[in-house]
């Protein structure tokens, strides 16, 4: 593998939450040990439901928050050990696009000013040069030069997301962290923005960390997929390996629960019971064991390690190191 642009080693973050006047504050492990390597020009998709810790992970990767434990390497250099000036430079190399384009743009700032602001803060460029760079980036994302002086309310959701992408890319970052970039958009506009992201990756050579819960979008965009559950990676590997034969029962359930736009498709639907357990009080052993259709005695007591099975990493006692997906008991019962 080529030198990764970004490498995470055992990243973890926990928060203390006050539970009222008399009780002791509780600790929530939002992310509990995530490791990955991101190759240049590639896309890593992080999949998970709300509460799985994917947004916390995104905040740590973009250095909005310092990791509680573990380390983050950018171009092979440990970010935590870098001096302030270097860290400042690194911040420009990892940029973020947020989920909601209605909330992430300042309504009182023209979009030209919004796109130029990262340059103003991070570079000594003169105003004319900043403007030229902003206009160039606007053209790349499909905005016209006359849009430069307009305000966010004059744009549709899809256009706003283009503005947010232009703002993130104007510092020419090597890595773009996209937190659910298309989930607020309509189908026809979503396709436009996804195409734009594909073109920008080919043109600028950025690597993407693509946080999403939409498996259709993930399958289209990703080179590698990491599935998270309650702050941990449960399955992580190349896209085709995971989509053709998921090994972790949670990945399989997630795939079967995603509605498919094909009424003729025959599916073995696995409907999980219950909801994501409270992160205050995670179950012992495997975090997925209360909802897992394959649960065994061992799952309730021992945490399964993330180990290589059939060409991907998977954390499950029941997953087998054989080709093909893990068989699910419940389907056999239903058939």
């Amino acid at each position: 593998m080529t030198q990764p642009v970004l490498e995470a080693v055992n990243l973890a973050q926990s928060y203390e939450v006050s539970r009222g006047f008399l009780s002791a504050p509780a600790t929530v492990k939002a992310v509990a040990g995530i490791s990955f390597r991101l190759a240049p020009r590639s896309t890593l998709a992080v999949v998970g439901e709300s509460g799985s810790g994917k947004s916390t992970l995104a905040r740590m990767l973009t250095m909005i928050e310092a990791p509680g434990a573990g380390s983050l390497f950018l171009n092979g250099v440990d970010v935590a050990e870098a001096d302030a000036a270097t860290r400042r430079r690194y911040r420009g190399e990892v940029q973020m696009v947020f989920q909601n384009p209605y909330g992430s743009l300042n309504p009182r700032q023209t979009i030209g000013a919004a796109i130029e602001e990262p340059l103003l803060v991070n570079t000594p460029l003169p105003a004319a040069e900043r403007r030229a760079r902003a206009l160039d980036m606007m053209a790349r994302v499909g905005l016209r030069p006359e849009h430069h002086g307009r305000y966010p309310h004059m744009f549709s959701g899809g256009q706003r997301q283009r503005i947010a992408i232009a703002r993130a890319l104007v510092l020419k970052p090597k890595i773009l962290v996209l937190d659910e970039p298309v989930s607020a958009l309509d189908v026809s506009v979503r396709a436009q923005v996804l195409n734009l992201l594909v073109e920008l990756q080919e043109g600028l050579g950025v690597a993407y960390v693509f946080v999403s819960h939409d498996l259709g979008v993930v399958r289209h965009m990703a080179d590698e997929v990491m599935v998270m559950y309650l702050g941990r990676a449960v399955e992580h590997g190349p896209r085709d390996a995971i989509f053709s034969a998921a090994k972790h029962p949670y990945t399989r359930a997630l795939m079967s629960a995603t509605p498919m736009a094909d009424p003729g498709a025959k599916k073995d639907r696995i409907v999980l019971e219950g909801e994501l357990p409270s992160p205050f009080n995670p179950p012992t052993g495997c975090p997925f064991n209360p909802r897992c259709p394959l649960v065994m005695a061992r799952c309730r007591s021992e945490m399964p390690p993330l180990e290589t099975k059939a060409g991907r990493l998977v954390a499950c006692w029941a997953a087998q190191d054989t080709p093909g997906p893990t068989p699910m008991r419940r389907e056999a019962a239903a058939a």
Binding site: V189, R190, A191, Q192, E199, A253, P259
Partner: protein, 329 residues
Amino acid sequence: MTLLSIRNLTVSFATSRGPFRAVDGVDLDVAAGELVAIVGESGSGKSVAMLAVMGLLPWTATVTADRLMFDGKDLAAMTPRERRRIIGRDLAMIFQEPMSSLNPCFTVGFQIGEALKTHLGLGRAARRDRAIALLNEVGIPEPERRLRAFPHQLSGGMSQRVMIAMALACRPKLIIADEPTTALDVTIQAQILDLLVRLQRENGVGLVLITHDMGVVAETSQRVCVHYAGQQVEMQPTEGLFRDPHHPYTAALLAALPERASGRLLPSIPGVVPGLADRPKGCLFSPRCRFATERCRTVPPPRAGAELGLALCHTPLVQGVPQRAPAAA
């Protein structure tokens, strides 16, 4: 038996820039035990059309229809008092965001009980028993304890179950569900959809499902209406719609789904839905349609026959090929 029958429903809003037609000539029939989906992007008027049926639009809206019948009664000719007697009892609605649709000041039990008290006149003990039975039915564990819970103590999936329990409270004949699973996670969405489909099959309730998710449509509904910019552009049985869409908008919408795409780039639809200011003269989809001709841009399209999915188009598609040679421009 047809429960809901709508012909030529039009809703316009008085805005400072003149009237805006949010819903433009919508027809819909829903029979008992049928699941009809209405799909469309934001601004397509799918929610407004159903809010008009419920009578929940603000005074700025003007609703006209050639026919607006529910269960043999004319909703349009009713007094508000008569209408209120039906709504919430025979005709119920499940709203989009469960977190903000429930009243944060009252317990779940109280909110479910309200409909039972108003419509069925049940006493306190009977209301409590019925509320527990309803919460059981929608799959909420420990219903006795949950009755005393406030909405903020429930997760999104649980709140949506409470919304469904409220809609079911008086055994309605027709339920309108407006994006019931949009705010929920995929595994919870699967649970809620299964619940709705089970209730519709077991109780013979008619269900109108408003959604923008083609996957949800494919997996649940029997018939689909596609809305675009307030107009109903196509209506077909679900299988036919996904196999052979007749309106170019439906075809483009399906082609733009990442899960149906084969290449690295998706066949996207250029442009955006027209707003109040830039409404085209002819077909509303013509500026974004790749089959558009001069006639499409100037003459509003006619409605095709049922064999062509009632497509609102000059040149409906069959297997992706436009029919009827377009008139020479």
